[in-house]
Each structure stands twice: as structure tokens, then as C-alpha cells.
Assembly symmetry: C2
Homo-oligomer: 161 residues x 2
């Protein structure tokens, strides 16, 4: 099932009005793994130029409040958003050269976190765990850079379904 259908059902179920603009924003957002707010604005406007920037931001905030999208502050540039509905919790590994983002799961880390939090008497609400490095391809590009070769490869990120 396409991801945006679930999101739309959820919103409707909560009595939230699903206007044409909101549908477009939801569908475009669901088509990407990770995106910045401005990327989403451009993408939405390429389908319907009359949708205002403010509307995209508002809808994004709405989805965030509803727990449907998550906001990630990767270093380097503005925050990334991600539609996480019906997705298991995961953390991120990012290539600082080409920007590829890999999602990983590590239950062992989650257990250690509980330890840490207990140690300081905190109540854990959420966490972020981000690893930054070079992907295999970029490590090679780096090595070839001395010889000034090809530009870094690109990762196309649009989800097919």
C-alpha cells in the first residue's frame, strides 16, 4: 500500500480536513525518504505553482504535531524531514561527502541509553544518534582526488512506490 494512503486515512480519522493542498504536500513528502522544507516547497510547487510556501510549512508542522513526520538536524545545512508513520524506530548514518543517508537499527544502543538515563535520574523521552562518515564510493573518490578525477557520484533518493 502506498504510504500516503495510510497518512491520509489517519488524518481523516482524526477529523483533520484534507484539502487538495494538504493532499499534495502529503503525497510529495511521502515520495521522499528525507527532504528539507525548502526542497518540499519546490517539489510541491512544481506540481501546483499556486500552493504558497506558508501552506507547505504549515502542513509540515501539522504532520509533525500529529507524529507523522520527524525532524532531523543533520549538521551541514537546514534540518531534514522524514515521514516516519508505520516505520520502525531507527537512527542515521550519513555520508558527509555525497549526502547519502542510511537508516540503521541498534537495540543494543537503546539498552545502554536506558542505563545512562537511569544513572542521572532522567526520564527518557527521545533520542537521536547520528553517525557521520564517508561511504564506500566517496572513500575512493577521496583517494583519487589527488589525481583530480571524476566528480562525486549522486544518490537518487525518490522512493519508487
Amino acid at each position: 500500500m502506498k504510504r500516503f494512503v495510510e497518512v491520509e486515512q489517519l488524518l481523516r480519522g482524526r477529523g483533520i480536513r484534507l484539502t487538495a493542498q494538504r493532499q499534495l504536500v502529503v503525497r510529495r513528502a511521502a515520495a521522499y525518504l528525507h527532504f528539507t522544507a525548502e526542497e518540499l516547497v519546490k517539489n510541491v510547487q512544481s506540481f501546483d505553482a499556486s500552493v504558497a510556501r506558508g501552506t507547505v510549512y504549515r502542513t509540515l508542522a501539522l504532520l509533525h504535531r500529529q507524529g507523522i513526520v520527524e525532524k532531523h538536524d543533520f549538521r551541514y545545512g537546514p534540518p531534514n524531514y522524514e515521514v516516519t508513520l508505520a516505520k520502525a524506530h531507527h537512527d542515521h548514518l550519513m555520508c558527509v561527502q555525497c549526502g547519502e543517508i542510511i537508516e540503521f537499527q541498534e537495540p543494543r544502543v537503546e539498552r545502554i541509553q536506558d542505563d545512562v538515563v537511569r544513572r542521572y535520574g532522567y526520564q527518557l523521552l527521545s533520542h537521536t544518534h547520528k553517525l557521520y562518515g564517508l561511504c564506500r564510493a566517496c572513500q575512493q573518490v577521496d583517494r583519487r582526488q589527488a589525481r583530480k578525477l571524476s566528480p562525486p557520484h549522486l544518490h537518487v533518493e525518490e522512493v519508487v512506490a
Copy 2:
């Protein structure tokens, strides 16, 4: 030994000019555990109002390039900076209510990270691991909130030495 002395020695050793403005910025930065760029601007200007905002940002960028300060994107608000010179690596636990930040070390997590990175063929360069929750005091404030009691406590953060 005061922290800023080390920083100043390091900069001089690398042939970087230590102007009066830079000294002031370094000293004020070293006086805090965590601070935002704008906080630092205000703090520096309270000692010498003639120092321009741009100079503070420039010096902060210089210290960052020199590996002396680290930048942390906590959610909620602009990024925090931290003078990390001669400080062991650590991660952060933050109270989302009062903003207290605790630094913790967890070698076990570092080992698991190496696993993850190997699994995807990456070369690890750095990482951030942030836990968000409620500190002991704020958990209690939360419980009392139904009865509308005292405002949240404050954490004074200036370092004494």
C-alpha cells in the same frame, strides 16, 4: 590551569594572530559549558560593546576550524557551541523542560558504532548521540503542574574557573 590559556597557547603556536577581540571571545567562550552564538555575542559585548557581531561569528568559525569548539544541533533553538579542547569525547543528555545539559561517556556505544559503520562499508568520521528527557526536578514540576505551582527551576551554567 584556566582553559583559555591553553587555547591561546595553541593558537599562538599555530601562528594565528591573537588580537584583543579574539582574546575576549576565547575567554568568554571558555567561561561557559554550552552557549549559542548570539549568547556569546551579547556576553562579549557586555565586556566591550565595540566588538562587532561579525567578529564574534568569525572567531567562533576560526575556533571551530581549529578543532577547539564543537557545534551541537540540539533540537529546540539555534545550535549550541562548546569549547572541547583538552576535554575527553562525550555525548549529551538534555532536559527538554529546563535546558540542563549533562555530558556522558559510553565506550560501549562507541564499540557498537564501529560495528554499524563496518556493516555498511563506511569510514566513521564523527558522531552525535543525544538523549532528550526530563531531569528529576522537572519530572516533579510536571507532576505538580496540575496544581499550578512554582516555576521551573533554573540551572546556572557559568564555569567558576
